[in-house]
Structures are given as structure tokens and as C-alpha cells.
Symmetry: D2
Subunit: 98 residues, 4 copies
Amino acid sequence: MKASVAIQVLPHVDTDEEVIRIVDEVIDYIKSTGLNYFVGPCETSIEGEYEELMDIVKNCQYIAVKAGAPKVSAYVKISFSPDGGVLTIDKKVTKHHK
Amino acid sequence: MKASVAIQVLPHVDTDEEVIRIVDEVIDYIKSTGLNYFVGPCETSIEGEYEELMDIVKNCQYIAVKAGAPKVSAYVKISFSPDGGVLTIDKKVTKHHK
Amino acid sequence: MKASVAIQVLPHVDTDEEVIRIVDEVIDYIKSTGLNYFVGPCETSIEGEYEELMDIVKNCQYIAVKAGAPKVSAYVKISFSPDGGVLTIDKKVTKHHK
Amino acid sequence: MKASVAIQVLPHVDTDEEVIRIVDEVIDYIKSTGLNYFVGPCETSIEGEYEELMDIVKNCQYIAVKAGAPKVSAYVKISFSPDGGVLTIDKKVTKHHK
């Protein structure tokens, strides 16, 4: 695989319920991209082509704003290897979730 | 819940196989603590008491060094709320893994 | 201000000298954008328009690859507030560097 | 050098003024340790012995709570190399701040 990202989106809103509602909209957006993803407690990992992933990372904050957050913070981990060799989500977590 | 952490440990070694072997030792250590945890592709989340979690975060790097890494980097997210109110792993991910 | 990012680029190369050489090329690129920036030990902060910043974040990894890194990791913090209100670099650090 | 950390402390409070006031108390605490440090826009880097640094990382959240934050998040980067070889703050930033 050539690239993967892991993103945590933090909408600046008043209640935990609002945080969860907005983050769920962001996760729904990630699901809608059709890429392989994995939702963890503090970030969602996605794997695919670098350009597409960076577009998705950018869009996540727009989704959060549209969903009602006046301000958004995000923490992103990026792995990029143009000739392949990025470890897959499957290789990293499957054995730990049996 | 009063505290949670998410940690990514990156041993500086030559091959992906070595990275995986050492990270698996760190994850085995986290499992051995008996705390509630969740392994994701780029970090492992753990919930519990703040002092205990910070000890575990510190020990993860010792485990990686003992397993053979001459140098270790780690990325840690910490949530701490002495009067409770930190969202649980269960509340954040269970609905997304059905 | 509407947006800021902080980025740490980690080229996967063999020596510290190579890491420094490649990271310096990334920092030179950031300087060349003309935006306001601040170089810290583990990340460089940049402030500007959200779309432009996200382009720069994407390009940093291309710069590192072009400079010789077969694989790159990056850690990015994003703050985005479409109606303004993101704290400026100046407001956050100037008083601490006198 | 054997270890360095970079920490961003985010108190969950209502206003930017409160965030700044509390973060400044955390930075004052870091200064009071006598270790070499560097304040950036989104994190403060500190270098020293691993055990001492991990104690400081832990204490930063206590300082933020004592200063009035009911809840605190923190993002921490750790570099640890028992036999030395962690790049110094000076080596990484001095040339960029002339």
C-alpha cells in the first residue's frame, strides 16, 4: 500500500453529546468514500492513494463545520511511500481483534 | 471514567518485521496490565486511573528498548478529568464495530 | 485568523544527517510560501487560509520524497475556524521568546 | 542527549483567555524545572533524563487542573535513546531563529 492516514477530529462544542454527533457525521463521511477504514477510540485510520487521502483529511473539517462546529481541531498521522510498503490496517490490527 | 491515553510506539529498527515484533511486545505488556484497552492501526487506547496510565505510558518505551530498539519515539494522547467525564472506549467505538 | 497547522515531517532514512538535510528542504519550502511560520524542535507551525495550508501540508511529503526519502511519516495539528478566532503564532509564543 | 519530549496541554475551559492563562501556568512550571526547554505555538519541547521528563509530562496535567481546568487533554511526543543520540533542541532550531 502507498499511503495511510489516521485522523482525530475535535469539534469545539459545548457537550459530549454534540461532540459525538458531529464526529459521527465525520465518520459517516469517511465511510461514504468507499476506502478501507478502521474506527478507533481516538482516531480513524484510512488507507488508499495519497492524494485522495489528503482530500479526505481536508474535507473532514468542512464536514464538522457544516455539522455545527464553529471551530475544529484535528490531529493527523500520515504515512506515505510512493513505491509501496506502508503497513496495512489489516496487518496491524486483525490479529489483535480475534 | 477519569482518564484515558492512546499511545503509538515507534521503535527505530531496520525492518517492518522488527517494528511489528517489538510493537507486539509492547501490546502484550499493555494487555498484561489488566486494564481496558483497544488496539488500533496507529495507536493503542487504554483507560484507567491517571497515575497508573502514566506509568504504563512510561514503561512502554522501556519495553521497546528491552525488546531490542536502540531508540524509540512515541506519540501519546492524554485525557484527564479528575471528577470523571472522560468518554469511554466502549462509548466511542462499539457502535462502529458491529 | 482562520486557520493554522503544525507539521512534523519524518523522512525514513538511515542517518540523522539525512533526516536534518531533508527536513531543512521541507522547511525551505514552507518559507518559500510566504506565509507566517515558526520552526520548533519537533514541528513547524504555519498560519493562513485553510485551503492553502492543507495544500502545503500535502506538498511537504512530496518535498521529502523528492529530497530522497523513500518513505515519509508526518504528524499534523490543524486548527480551523471559518469565522476567525484561531489564536495567532505571535499571541502564543512571542512573550516566551524575549 | 538521551531523551526529549514535546507537550501540548489543552485545558477544557470556556474562553481563549482562560486557555492562555492556564497554559502559561503550565509553561511556568516547565521553566521552574530548570531543564532546557523551547516554547512553540502548539507545544513546548523539553530535554533531559527520561524519568524526569515523564514525571514532568504527568505533572503538567495536574498543574492545569489545579489552575482551574475541570478536564485536560494533552498531546505528547517522546524520543528516548538510552545510549544517547536524541537530537538536541539547539541542533534542531537554532539555525532557523537567526
